[in-house]
Amino acid sequence: MNEFTVPILFSVIIGTLSRIYMFRTDYRQYPTYPHGMIIHLALGFIAAALGALVVPSIMSEEFTAVTFLTLAASQFREVRNMERKTLTEMDTLELVPRGASYIEGIAVTFEGRNYLVIFISFVTSLAYLSLNVWASLVAAVLSFLVARKYMTGSKLGKIAYIEHSTLSFEGAGLYVDNIYIMNIGIPERQEEILKHGLGFVISPKNFDARMTIGNLGQRQAILHDLAISLGVYRDSGTPALVPLIKRDLDDGRIGVFILPQNNNVELAKKIISQVPTLENAIRMPTETKEKGSDQS
């Protein structure tokens, strides 16, 4: 035991607890498996330990010791690869897949949360060693609030309006509002679709959102979330019943067609508005400088 033992232990505990809090096993996150959870808890513990050690190593003038943080970076990049690989492999077995963009988003989140843990335990140990235990508690709570702010991304409901719309057939063409979805030939299938299907039109609130909701990965994420929450009326080998999203080229609205098992329209609208806007789908064409490339 030396003067650093208690502060380090304290920060490691705070860091690990914050990682546990960040586990939100909801309908879309994947660690619903106890073993997946243990892997991430262990990594969270390692991240907390790394963050807690920074300040003591500087105080004892072991500056080179800080280089172990580079270890952390490569270690946690591996977490992202691991998540991406697992989810991609599982995705082939989903009735409505997540899509590569959604998987990448989840994988990046897993990596990012470990860095948040490093940050929290670093701030906690800094406050403990430079002030006292109460200050470190306050610092832990504050950094925790900052982390929580960064943990939750934007939702689709913020950038677009969601309306329920009717499905209709013009000849063999299936339409949501006036957006063409696909050609369904057999009358029996058409009846099935009209009976079980739901249609929604998502209209962007501004030009940036128009590009974002047009992204194929973002569209797949909407379908996946809907299918996970409401169930889906299809099986393997029934491609005619695959939920689809098509775009109106004139105004950027997208038409969502899905055959859910639970036909609750209000719930479906709520789910669509809660779909995360994927980080890699966000486009901001309006941010482009007027003079173009010579401004960069």
Binding site: A172, G185, I186
Partner: protein, 61 residues
Amino acid sequence: MILEKAILAAITDSVHKVPVGANVFVCDTKAEMDKVAAELEAILDGIAHKLSNDVYIIVKH
């Protein structure tokens, strides 16, 4: 072999309207066409699209 976007079969009641080279199923009535198209859709894991009143095609997507 993995097929992407291919016409697997065509179902028709007027044989001169379908492309040469596809597997053509000639039917006598519209009701028979619907039935054959539904069966083929299930067997081939494709979607039955209606090109006109006389022609269905089964397409792998």
